[in-house]
Symmetry: C2
DNA sequence: CGTAAAATTGATATTTCTCAATGAGAGTGG
DNA sequence: CCACTCTCATTGAGAAATATCAATTTTACG
Protein backbone atom coordinates (compact mmCIF):
# COMPACT_ATOMS: atom_id res chain seq x y z
CA UNK A 1 0.00 0.00 0.00
CA UNK A 2 2.60 2.56 -0.97
CA UNK A 3 1.41 5.94 -2.19
CA UNK A 4 -0.14 5.24 -5.53
CA UNK A 5 2.21 6.67 -8.09
CA UNK A 6 0.92 5.50 -11.41
CA UNK A 7 2.11 6.09 -14.93
CA UNK A 8 -0.42 6.98 -17.53
CA UNK A 9 0.63 6.28 -21.06
CA UNK A 10 -0.55 8.38 -23.97
CA UNK A 11 -3.56 6.91 -25.64
CA UNK A 12 -4.02 5.30 -29.05
CA UNK A 13 -3.16 2.28 -31.21
CA UNK A 14 -3.01 -0.14 -28.31
CA UNK A 15 -5.64 -2.70 -29.01
CA UNK A 16 -4.21 -4.20 -32.15
CA UNK A 17 -1.08 -5.33 -30.36
CA UNK A 18 -2.67 -5.88 -26.95
CA UNK A 19 -1.56 -9.08 -25.27
CA UNK A 20 -5.06 -9.98 -24.10
CA UNK A 21 -6.80 -9.00 -27.33
CA UNK A 22 -8.21 -12.47 -27.89
CA UNK A 23 -9.21 -13.35 -24.34
CA UNK A 24 -10.60 -10.17 -22.86
CA UNK A 25 -13.90 -8.32 -23.20
CA UNK A 26 -12.66 -6.65 -26.35
CA UNK A 27 -12.56 -9.98 -28.20
CA UNK A 28 -16.23 -9.33 -28.98
CA UNK A 29 -15.49 -6.19 -31.00
CA UNK A 30 -14.80 -5.93 -34.71
CA UNK A 31 -11.99 -3.84 -36.19
CA UNK A 32 -14.10 -0.69 -36.57
CA UNK A 33 -15.47 -0.87 -33.05
CA UNK A 34 -12.01 -1.55 -31.70
CA UNK A 35 -10.76 1.71 -33.15
CA UNK A 36 -13.42 3.60 -31.26
CA UNK A 37 -12.92 1.48 -28.19
CA UNK A 38 -9.22 2.37 -28.07
CA UNK A 39 -10.05 5.93 -27.21
CA UNK A 40 -11.98 4.89 -24.13
CA UNK A 41 -9.20 2.99 -22.41
CA UNK A 42 -5.93 4.09 -20.91
CA UNK A 43 -3.07 1.88 -19.93
CA UNK A 44 -2.14 2.36 -16.32
CA UNK A 45 0.70 0.76 -14.40
CA UNK A 46 0.80 -0.21 -10.76
CA UNK A 47 3.69 -1.39 -8.67
CA UNK A 48 3.51 -4.37 -6.37
CA UNK A 49 1.48 -3.67 -3.24
CA UNK A 50 -0.40 -0.74 -4.71
CA UNK A 51 -4.16 -0.69 -4.39
CA UNK A 52 -6.05 -0.31 -7.64
CA UNK A 53 -9.42 0.20 -5.97
CA UNK A 54 -10.93 -0.39 -2.56
CA UNK A 55 -14.15 -1.92 -1.37
CA UNK A 56 -16.85 0.69 -0.82
CA UNK A 57 -15.16 3.15 -3.15
CA UNK A 58 -17.53 4.69 -5.63
CA UNK A 59 -16.98 2.91 -8.92
CA UNK A 60 -15.58 5.40 -11.41
CA UNK A 61 -13.74 2.95 -13.67
CA UNK A 62 -13.68 -0.57 -14.97
CA UNK A 63 -10.43 -2.41 -15.47
CA UNK A 64 -9.17 -4.92 -17.92
CA UNK A 65 -6.06 -6.65 -16.63
CA UNK A 66 -3.32 -6.69 -19.27
CA UNK A 67 -0.31 -7.85 -17.33
CA UNK A 68 0.52 -9.08 -13.84
CA UNK A 69 -1.46 -10.55 -10.99
CA UNK A 70 -3.88 -8.88 -8.59
CA UNK A 71 -5.40 -10.04 -5.34
CA UNK A 72 -9.10 -9.35 -4.88
CA UNK A 73 -10.21 -9.36 -1.27
CA UNK A 74 -12.66 -8.35 1.36
CA UNK A 75 -11.90 -7.35 4.94
CA UNK A 76 -13.94 -7.88 8.08
CA UNK A 77 -14.14 -4.96 10.52
CA UNK A 78 -11.58 -6.63 12.80
CA UNK A 79 -9.07 -7.03 9.99
CA UNK A 80 -9.59 -10.64 8.99
CA UNK A 81 -9.14 -10.89 5.26
CA UNK A 82 -10.63 -13.20 2.68
CA UNK A 83 -9.11 -13.18 -0.77
CA UNK A 84 -12.01 -13.85 -3.13
CA UNK A 85 -9.84 -14.37 -6.17
CA UNK A 86 -6.67 -13.58 -8.07
CA UNK A 87 -7.01 -11.61 -11.27
CA UNK A 88 -4.86 -12.40 -14.29
CA UNK A 89 -4.51 -10.85 -17.76
CA UNK A 90 -7.84 -10.95 -19.57
CA UNK A 91 -9.91 -10.54 -16.41
CA UNK A 92 -12.38 -7.70 -16.31
CA UNK A 93 -12.93 -5.94 -12.98
CA UNK A 94 -15.27 -3.40 -11.51
CA UNK A 95 -18.78 -4.43 -12.52
CA UNK A 96 -21.32 -3.99 -9.74
CA UNK A 97 -24.89 -3.04 -9.10
CA UNK A 98 -24.53 -0.72 -6.15
CA UNK A 99 -22.22 1.80 -7.77
CA UNK A 100 -19.51 0.86 -5.29
CA UNK A 101 -16.82 -1.75 -5.56
CA UNK A 102 -17.65 -4.81 -3.54
CA UNK A 103 -14.07 -5.89 -3.01
CA UNK A 104 -10.61 -4.36 -2.98
CA UNK A 105 -7.90 -5.03 -5.51
CA UNK A 106 -4.13 -4.83 -5.01
CA UNK A 107 -1.34 -5.36 -7.49
CA UNK A 108 0.89 -8.32 -6.67
CA UNK A 109 4.07 -7.29 -8.42
CA UNK A 110 3.90 -5.00 -11.42
CA UNK A 111 0.50 -4.76 -13.03
CA UNK A 112 -0.78 -3.10 -16.18
CA UNK A 113 -4.47 -2.49 -16.64
CA UNK A 114 -6.58 -0.96 -19.34
CA UNK A 115 -8.74 1.49 -17.44
CA UNK A 116 -12.15 2.67 -18.68
CA UNK A 117 -14.12 5.54 -17.21
CA UNK A 118 -17.46 4.18 -16.17
CA UNK A 119 -19.80 6.56 -17.97
CA UNK A 120 -18.27 6.47 -21.47
CA UNK A 121 -17.83 2.73 -21.18
CA UNK A 122 -21.48 2.40 -20.22
CA UNK A 123 -22.51 4.46 -23.22
CA UNK A 124 -20.28 2.46 -25.55
CA UNK A 125 -21.79 -0.77 -24.33
CA UNK A 126 -25.30 0.55 -24.76
CA UNK A 127 -25.48 -0.17 -28.49
CA UNK A 128 -23.08 -3.12 -28.53
CA UNK A 129 -24.98 -6.13 -27.29
CA UNK A 130 -22.02 -8.27 -28.35
CA UNK A 131 -19.86 -6.60 -25.76
CA UNK A 132 -22.54 -6.94 -23.12
CA UNK A 133 -22.85 -10.59 -23.99
CA UNK A 134 -19.12 -11.02 -23.57
CA UNK A 135 -19.17 -9.29 -20.20
CA UNK A 136 -22.04 -11.50 -19.18
CA UNK A 137 -20.08 -14.58 -20.19
CA UNK A 138 -17.16 -13.49 -18.05
CA UNK A 139 -19.49 -12.86 -15.10
CA UNK A 140 -21.08 -16.27 -15.46
CA UNK A 141 -17.69 -17.93 -15.66
CA UNK A 142 -16.59 -16.10 -12.53
CA UNK A 143 -19.76 -17.13 -10.78
CA UNK A 144 -18.99 -20.74 -11.52
CA UNK A 145 -15.48 -20.30 -10.15
CA UNK A 146 -16.88 -18.59 -7.07
CA UNK A 147 -19.14 -21.58 -6.41
CA UNK A 148 -16.25 -23.97 -6.80
CA UNK A 149 -14.33 -21.91 -4.31
CA UNK A 150 -17.21 -22.03 -1.84
CA UNK A 151 -16.98 -25.81 -1.93
CA UNK A 152 -13.28 -25.60 -1.23
CA UNK A 153 -13.73 -23.16 1.65
CA UNK A 154 -16.66 -24.92 3.24
CA UNK A 155 -15.94 -28.57 2.73
CA UNK A 156 -12.29 -29.31 2.07
CA UNK A 157 -9.40 -30.09 4.44
CA UNK A 158 -6.21 -28.06 4.52
CA UNK A 159 -4.36 -30.65 2.41
CA UNK A 160 -7.11 -30.69 -0.17
CA UNK A 161 -7.29 -26.92 -0.22
CA UNK A 162 -3.59 -26.51 -0.93
CA UNK A 163 -3.47 -29.28 -3.53
CA UNK A 164 -6.57 -27.91 -5.25
CA UNK A 165 -5.14 -24.42 -5.22
CA UNK A 166 -1.83 -25.46 -6.77
CA UNK A 167 -3.53 -27.42 -9.53
CA UNK A 168 -6.08 -24.71 -10.17
CA UNK A 169 -3.47 -22.00 -10.31
CA UNK A 170 -1.32 -24.06 -12.65
CA UNK A 171 -4.37 -24.58 -14.84
CA UNK A 172 -5.10 -20.86 -15.00
CA UNK A 173 -1.55 -20.18 -16.10
CA UNK A 174 -1.85 -22.60 -19.01
CA UNK A 175 -3.65 -19.99 -21.10
CA UNK A 176 -0.88 -17.49 -20.39
CA UNK A 177 2.31 -19.52 -20.38
CA UNK A 178 1.38 -23.00 -21.51
CA UNK A 179 1.29 -26.13 -19.38
CA UNK A 180 4.23 -26.56 -17.07
CA UNK A 181 5.07 -28.46 -13.92
CA UNK A 182 6.93 -25.40 -12.71
CA UNK A 183 4.26 -23.27 -11.08
CA UNK A 184 5.19 -19.69 -10.21
CA UNK A 185 3.50 -18.36 -7.10
CA UNK A 186 3.82 -14.58 -7.16
CA UNK A 187 1.54 -14.20 -4.13
CA UNK A 188 2.77 -14.53 -0.55
CA UNK A 189 2.01 -17.42 1.78
CA UNK A 190 -0.30 -15.05 3.63
CA UNK A 191 -2.19 -14.39 0.41
CA UNK A 192 -2.55 -18.11 -0.19
CA UNK A 193 -3.74 -18.59 3.40
CA UNK A 194 -6.31 -15.82 3.04
CA UNK A 195 -7.49 -17.30 -0.22
CA UNK A 196 -7.89 -20.79 1.22
CA UNK A 197 -9.37 -19.81 4.58
CA UNK A 198 -6.31 -21.06 6.48
CA UNK A 199 -3.51 -19.53 8.51
CA UNK A 200 -0.10 -18.86 7.08
CA UNK A 201 1.36 -21.53 9.37
CA UNK A 202 -0.99 -24.20 8.12
CA UNK A 203 -0.20 -23.31 4.50
CA UNK A 204 3.51 -23.43 5.22
CA UNK A 205 3.23 -26.77 6.99
CA UNK A 206 1.14 -28.22 4.19
CA UNK A 207 3.67 -27.13 1.57
CA UNK A 208 6.41 -28.77 3.61
CA UNK A 209 4.35 -31.92 3.99
CA UNK A 210 3.65 -32.11 0.26
CA UNK A 211 7.34 -31.70 -0.37
CA UNK A 212 8.26 -34.42 2.14
CA UNK A 213 5.85 -36.74 0.37
CA UNK A 214 7.42 -35.98 -2.98
CA UNK A 215 4.36 -34.33 -4.46
CA UNK A 216 5.98 -30.95 -4.97
CA UNK A 217 9.33 -29.28 -4.63
CA UNK A 218 9.37 -25.82 -3.11
CA UNK A 219 11.47 -23.59 -5.34
CA UNK A 220 12.27 -19.93 -5.43
CA UNK A 221 9.10 -18.02 -6.21
CA UNK A 222 6.91 -21.05 -6.64
CA UNK A 223 6.76 -24.80 -6.65
CA UNK A 224 7.58 -27.60 -8.99
CA UNK A 225 4.89 -30.19 -9.36
CA UNK A 226 6.75 -33.50 -9.11
CA UNK A 227 3.78 -35.83 -8.91
CA UNK A 228 0.72 -34.30 -10.60
CA UNK A 229 -1.22 -37.54 -10.25
CA UNK A 230 -0.83 -37.62 -6.46
CA UNK A 231 -1.75 -33.96 -6.32
CA UNK A 232 -4.90 -34.63 -8.35
CA UNK A 233 -5.77 -37.48 -6.03
CA UNK A 234 -5.40 -35.22 -3.01
CA UNK A 235 -7.47 -32.50 -4.65
CA UNK A 236 -10.27 -34.79 -5.81
CA UNK A 237 -10.73 -36.51 -2.44
CA UNK B 1 -35.17 -37.28 -4.47
CA UNK B 2 -38.45 -39.01 -5.29
CA UNK B 3 -39.25 -39.87 -8.90
CA UNK B 4 -39.86 -36.55 -10.50
CA UNK B 5 -43.59 -36.34 -11.10
CA UNK B 6 -44.20 -32.82 -12.28
CA UNK B 7 -47.31 -31.05 -13.37
CA UNK B 8 -47.17 -28.94 -16.47
CA UNK B 9 -49.81 -26.31 -16.74
CA UNK B 10 -51.24 -25.26 -20.07
CA UNK B 11 -49.54 -22.20 -21.42
CA UNK B 12 -50.74 -18.62 -21.85
CA UNK B 13 -51.69 -15.39 -20.02
CA UNK B 14 -49.39 -15.99 -17.05
CA UNK B 15 -47.04 -13.10 -17.02
CA UNK B 16 -49.48 -10.32 -16.33
CA UNK B 17 -50.48 -11.84 -13.02
CA UNK B 18 -47.14 -13.42 -12.21
CA UNK B 19 -46.05 -12.94 -8.62
CA UNK B 20 -42.44 -12.16 -9.54
CA UNK B 21 -43.31 -9.97 -12.51
CA UNK B 22 -41.52 -6.94 -11.06
CA UNK B 23 -38.43 -8.60 -9.65
CA UNK B 24 -37.48 -11.26 -12.16
CA UNK B 25 -35.71 -11.21 -15.52
CA UNK B 26 -38.99 -10.39 -17.23
CA UNK B 27 -39.16 -7.00 -15.53
CA UNK B 28 -37.02 -5.76 -18.42
CA UNK B 29 -39.68 -6.52 -21.03
CA UNK B 30 -42.43 -4.23 -22.28
CA UNK B 31 -46.02 -5.35 -22.71
CA UNK B 32 -45.59 -6.43 -26.34
CA UNK B 33 -42.46 -8.41 -25.61
CA UNK B 34 -44.10 -9.98 -22.61
CA UNK B 35 -46.88 -11.38 -24.78
CA UNK B 36 -44.33 -13.15 -26.93
CA UNK B 37 -42.29 -14.17 -23.91
CA UNK B 38 -45.28 -15.89 -22.37
CA UNK B 39 -45.23 -18.52 -25.06
CA UNK B 40 -41.67 -19.48 -24.21
CA UNK B 41 -42.21 -20.33 -20.56
CA UNK B 42 -44.16 -23.07 -18.85
CA UNK B 43 -45.10 -23.21 -15.22
CA UNK B 44 -43.86 -26.40 -13.63
CA UNK B 45 -44.43 -27.60 -10.08
CA UNK B 46 -42.10 -29.62 -7.92
CA UNK B 47 -42.71 -31.23 -4.58
CA UNK B 48 -40.34 -30.93 -1.66
CA UNK B 49 -37.20 -33.00 -2.14
CA UNK B 50 -37.51 -33.24 -5.90
CA UNK B 51 -34.50 -32.38 -7.99
CA UNK B 52 -35.06 -29.72 -10.63
CA UNK B 53 -31.71 -30.23 -12.31
CA UNK B 54 -28.39 -31.85 -11.45
CA UNK B 55 -24.82 -30.75 -11.77
CA UNK B 56 -23.23 -31.99 -14.98
CA UNK B 57 -26.61 -32.41 -16.65
CA UNK B 58 -26.70 -30.89 -20.11
CA UNK B 59 -28.51 -27.58 -19.79
CA UNK B 60 -31.76 -27.80 -21.71
CA UNK B 61 -33.72 -25.19 -19.78
CA UNK B 62 -33.47 -22.06 -17.73
CA UNK B 63 -35.66 -21.51 -14.71
CA UNK B 64 -37.29 -18.53 -13.14
CA UNK B 65 -38.37 -19.29 -9.58
CA UNK B 66 -41.97 -18.21 -8.99
CA UNK B 67 -42.79 -19.76 -5.64
CA UNK B 68 -41.02 -21.72 -2.92
CA UNK B 69 -37.41 -22.24 -1.93
CA UNK B 70 -34.68 -24.28 -3.60
CA UNK B 71 -31.30 -25.43 -2.40
CA UNK B 72 -28.44 -25.08 -4.87
CA UNK B 73 -25.51 -27.32 -4.11
CA UNK B 74 -22.42 -29.10 -5.26
CA UNK B 75 -21.22 -32.52 -4.16
CA UNK B 76 -17.68 -33.80 -3.76
CA UNK B 77 -17.00 -37.34 -5.03
CA UNK B 78 -17.10 -38.69 -1.47
CA UNK B 79 -20.52 -37.18 -0.81
CA UNK B 80 -19.61 -34.02 1.08
CA UNK B 81 -22.07 -31.33 0.11
CA UNK B 82 -21.74 -27.57 -0.11
CA UNK B 83 -24.90 -25.58 -0.55
CA UNK B 84 -23.88 -22.61 -2.67
CA UNK B 85 -27.13 -20.75 -2.21
CA UNK B 86 -30.86 -20.85 -1.67
CA UNK B 87 -33.06 -19.70 -4.51
CA UNK B 88 -36.21 -17.69 -3.87
CA UNK B 89 -38.96 -16.30 -6.11
CA UNK B 90 -37.45 -13.96 -8.68
CA UNK B 91 -34.17 -15.86 -8.95
CA UNK B 92 -33.10 -16.97 -12.39
CA UNK B 93 -31.28 -20.30 -12.67
CA UNK B 94 -29.41 -22.25 -15.28
CA UNK B 95 -27.01 -19.83 -16.99
CA UNK B 96 -23.63 -21.33 -17.67
CA UNK B 97 -20.84 -21.33 -20.20
CA UNK B 98 -20.08 -25.01 -20.50
CA UNK B 99 -23.54 -26.12 -21.59
CA UNK B 100 -23.86 -28.13 -18.38
CA UNK B 101 -25.27 -27.08 -15.06
CA UNK B 102 -22.55 -26.33 -12.57
CA UNK B 103 -24.64 -27.10 -9.52
CA UNK B 104 -27.69 -29.14 -8.57
CA UNK B 105 -31.02 -27.71 -7.50
CA UNK B 106 -33.64 -29.34 -5.26
CA UNK B 107 -37.02 -28.06 -4.21
CA UNK B 108 -37.35 -27.42 -0.47
CA UNK B 109 -41.07 -27.77 -0.03
CA UNK B 110 -43.40 -27.05 -2.94
CA UNK B 111 -41.82 -25.02 -5.73
CA UNK B 112 -43.17 -23.45 -8.87
CA UNK B 113 -40.84 -22.40 -11.64
CA UNK B 114 -41.24 -20.80 -15.00
CA UNK B 115 -39.24 -23.06 -17.29
CA UNK B 116 -37.74 -21.91 -20.59
CA UNK B 117 -36.28 -24.18 -23.20
CA UNK B 118 -32.72 -23.06 -23.78
CA UNK B 119 -32.71 -22.60 -27.55
CA UNK B 120 -35.87 -20.50 -27.97
CA UNK B 121 -34.92 -18.45 -24.93
CA UNK B 122 -31.49 -17.87 -26.44
CA UNK B 123 -33.06 -16.71 -29.69
CA UNK B 124 -35.50 -14.45 -27.87
CA UNK B 125 -32.67 -12.83 -25.96
CA UNK B 126 -30.67 -12.33 -29.13
CA UNK B 127 -32.49 -9.15 -30.17
CA UNK B 128 -33.45 -7.96 -26.67
CA UNK B 129 -30.37 -6.36 -25.15
CA UNK B 130 -32.61 -5.13 -22.33
CA UNK B 131 -33.23 -8.68 -21.23
CA UNK B 132 -29.56 -9.55 -21.53
CA UNK B 133 -28.74 -6.52 -19.43
CA UNK B 134 -31.21 -7.67 -16.79
CA UNK B 135 -29.71 -11.17 -16.74
CA UNK B 136 -26.29 -9.62 -16.43
CA UNK B 137 -27.44 -7.55 -13.47
CA UNK B 138 -28.74 -10.63 -11.73
CA UNK B 139 -25.45 -12.44 -12.39
CA UNK B 140 -23.44 -9.55 -11.00
CA UNK B 141 -25.63 -9.38 -7.92
CA UNK B 142 -25.18 -13.09 -7.37
CA UNK B 143 -21.45 -12.75 -7.80
CA UNK B 144 -21.39 -10.16 -5.06
CA UNK B 145 -23.38 -12.46 -2.79
CA UNK B 146 -21.04 -15.32 -3.64
CA UNK B 147 -18.06 -13.24 -2.56
CA UNK B 148 -19.75 -12.32 0.69
CA UNK B 149 -20.37 -15.98 1.28
CA UNK B 150 -16.71 -16.80 0.65
CA UNK B 151 -15.80 -14.42 3.46
CA UNK B 152 -18.24 -16.19 5.73
CA UNK B 153 -16.97 -19.64 4.82
CA UNK B 154 -13.30 -18.79 5.00
CA UNK B 155 -13.04 -16.36 7.85
CA UNK B 156 -15.95 -16.50 10.27
CA UNK B 157 -16.51 -18.59 13.40
CA UNK B 158 -19.49 -20.89 13.84
CA UNK B 159 -21.32 -18.31 15.95
CA UNK B 160 -20.74 -15.60 13.39
CA UNK B 161 -21.78 -17.87 10.54
CA UNK B 162 -25.10 -18.73 12.15
CA UNK B 163 -25.89 -15.17 13.20
CA UNK B 164 -24.95 -13.87 9.75
CA UNK B 165 -27.08 -16.51 8.09
CA UNK B 166 -30.16 -15.74 10.18
CA UNK B 167 -29.90 -12.02 9.53
CA UNK B 168 -29.17 -12.51 5.84
CA UNK B 169 -32.05 -14.89 5.38
CA UNK B 170 -34.40 -12.57 7.21
CA UNK B 171 -33.22 -9.77 4.94
CA UNK B 172 -33.88 -11.77 1.80
CA UNK B 173 -37.40 -12.47 2.96
CA UNK B 174 -38.14 -8.78 3.39
CA UNK B 175 -38.78 -8.40 -0.34
CA UNK B 176 -41.23 -11.30 -0.24
CA UNK B 177 -43.01 -11.00 3.08
CA UNK B 178 -41.92 -7.72 4.61
CA UNK B 179 -39.67 -7.26 7.60
CA UNK B 180 -40.41 -9.51 10.52
CA UNK B 181 -38.65 -10.83 13.59
CA UNK B 182 -40.26 -14.17 12.96
CA UNK B 183 -37.95 -15.86 10.50
CA UNK B 184 -39.23 -19.02 8.83
CA UNK B 185 -36.54 -21.59 8.07
CA UNK B 186 -37.96 -24.01 5.53
CA UNK B 187 -34.60 -25.74 5.09
CA UNK B 188 -33.33 -28.44 7.46
CA UNK B 189 -30.51 -28.05 9.94
CA UNK B 190 -28.42 -30.19 7.63
CA UNK B 191 -29.07 -27.73 4.80
CA UNK B 192 -28.02 -24.86 7.02
CA UNK B 193 -24.89 -26.76 8.04
CA UNK B 194 -23.99 -27.49 4.43
CA UNK B 195 -24.55 -23.86 3.55
CA UNK B 196 -22.34 -22.58 6.36
CA UNK B 197 -19.57 -25.16 6.09
CA UNK B 198 -20.40 -26.65 9.49
CA UNK B 199 -21.80 -29.91 10.82
CA UNK B 200 -25.42 -30.31 11.80
CA UNK B 201 -24.38 -30.72 15.44
CA UNK B 202 -22.52 -27.43 15.48
CA UNK B 203 -25.48 -25.64 13.92
CA UNK B 204 -27.81 -27.16 16.47
CA UNK B 205 -25.56 -26.27 19.38
CA UNK B 206 -25.18 -22.74 18.10
CA UNK B 207 -28.94 -22.30 17.79
CA UNK B 208 -29.32 -23.54 21.36
CA UNK B 209 -26.58 -21.21 22.54
CA UNK B 210 -28.17 -18.20 20.84
CA UNK B 211 -31.45 -19.15 22.46
CA UNK B 212 -29.86 -19.49 25.93
CA UNK B 213 -28.35 -16.03 25.48
CA UNK B 214 -31.75 -14.60 24.58
CA UNK B 215 -30.79 -13.66 21.03
CA UNK B 216 -33.34 -15.93 19.37
CA UNK B 217 -36.17 -18.22 20.25
CA UNK B 218 -36.36 -21.51 18.40
CA UNK B 219 -39.91 -21.98 17.17
CA UNK B 220 -41.61 -24.51 14.99
CA UNK B 221 -40.32 -24.11 11.43
CA UNK B 222 -38.02 -21.24 12.16
CA UNK B 223 -36.78 -18.82 14.77
CA UNK B 224 -37.93 -15.65 16.36
CA UNK B 225 -35.33 -12.92 16.49
CA UNK B 226 -35.57 -11.58 20.04
CA UNK B 227 -32.50 -9.36 20.04
CA UNK B 228 -31.64 -8.20 16.51
CA UNK B 229 -28.98 -5.83 17.84
CA UNK B 230 -27.04 -8.60 19.57
CA UNK B 231 -27.39 -10.75 16.47
CA UNK B 232 -25.99 -7.92 14.35
CA UNK B 233 -23.11 -7.53 16.76
CA UNK B 234 -22.32 -11.23 16.53
CA UNK B 235 -22.53 -11.15 12.75
CA UNK B 236 -20.38 -8.06 12.31
CA UNK B 237 -17.57 -9.21 14.60
C1' DC C 1 26.82 -6.54 5.52
C1' DG C 2 22.97 -5.50 8.28
C1' DT C 3 18.26 -5.11 8.97
C1' DA C 4 13.49 -6.09 8.02
C1' DA C 5 10.06 -8.98 6.16
C1' DA C 6 8.57 -13.52 4.99
C1' DA C 7 8.55 -18.32 5.76
C1' DT C 8 9.20 -22.23 8.51
C1' DT C 9 9.02 -25.00 12.61
C1' DG C 10 7.63 -26.30 17.31
C1' DA C 11 4.58 -26.52 21.38
C1' DT C 12 0.16 -25.82 23.00
C1' DA C 13 -4.67 -24.17 22.84
C1' DT C 14 -9.11 -23.98 20.81
C1' DT C 15 -12.61 -24.87 17.82
C1' DT C 16 -15.18 -27.82 15.46
C1' DC C 17 -15.92 -32.55 14.21
C1' DT C 18 -17.03 -37.31 15.12
C1' DC C 19 -19.34 -40.82 17.33
C1' DA C 20 -23.05 -42.16 20.22
C1' DA C 21 -27.21 -41.62 22.65
C1' DT C 22 -31.48 -39.45 23.53
C1' DG C 23 -35.54 -36.69 22.52
C1' DA C 24 -39.25 -34.63 19.77
C1' DG C 25 -42.53 -34.36 16.02
C1' DA C 26 -45.09 -36.33 11.85
C1' DG C 27 -47.29 -39.82 9.68
C1' DT C 28 -49.26 -44.72 9.74
C1' DG C 29 -51.89 -48.57 10.76
C1' DG C 30 -54.13 -51.21 14.23
C1' DC D 1 -57.05 -42.71 19.66
C1' DC D 2 -52.85 -44.64 20.54
C1' DA D 3 -48.64 -47.21 19.98
C1' DC D 4 -45.04 -47.58 16.41
C1' DT D 5 -41.66 -46.03 13.52
C1' DC D 6 -39.09 -42.84 10.92
C1' DT D 7 -36.80 -38.75 10.40
C1' DC D 8 -34.89 -34.79 12.25
C1' DA D 9 -32.94 -32.27 16.01
C1' DT D 10 -30.54 -31.96 20.26
C1' DT D 11 -27.10 -33.09 23.65
C1' DG D 12 -22.84 -35.14 25.51
C1' DA D 13 -18.08 -36.93 25.55
C1' DG D 14 -13.92 -37.43 23.39
C1' DA D 15 -10.94 -36.93 19.10
C1' DA D 16 -8.96 -34.46 15.46
C1' DA D 17 -7.86 -30.64 12.74
C1' DT D 18 -6.40 -26.22 12.62
C1' DA D 19 -5.33 -21.96 15.09
C1' DT D 20 -2.43 -19.47 18.18
C1' DC D 21 1.73 -18.13 20.30
C1' DA D 22 6.62 -18.11 20.17
C1' DA D 23 11.06 -18.93 18.28
C1' DT D 24 14.14 -19.59 14.46
C1' DT D 25 15.59 -19.56 9.82
C1' DT D 26 15.60 -17.81 5.27
C1' DT D 27 15.19 -14.38 1.91
C1' DA D 28 14.94 -9.67 0.21
C1' DC D 29 16.76 -5.23 0.05
C1' DG D 30 19.16 -1.01 1.05
Amino acid sequence: MKPSVVMIEPNGHFCRDCAVRGAAVCSSLNAAELTEFEHLGRRVHFDGGETVFSEEDITTSFYNVLEGVMRLYKLLPDGRRQIVGFALPGDFLGMNISGRHNFSADAIGVVTVCQFAKAPFGRFIEDRPQLLKRINELAIRELSQARDHMVLLGRRSADEKVATFLLGWRERLVALKGLSDTVPLPMSRQDIADYLGLTIETVSRTFTKLERHGVIEIIHGGISLLDPARAEALAAA
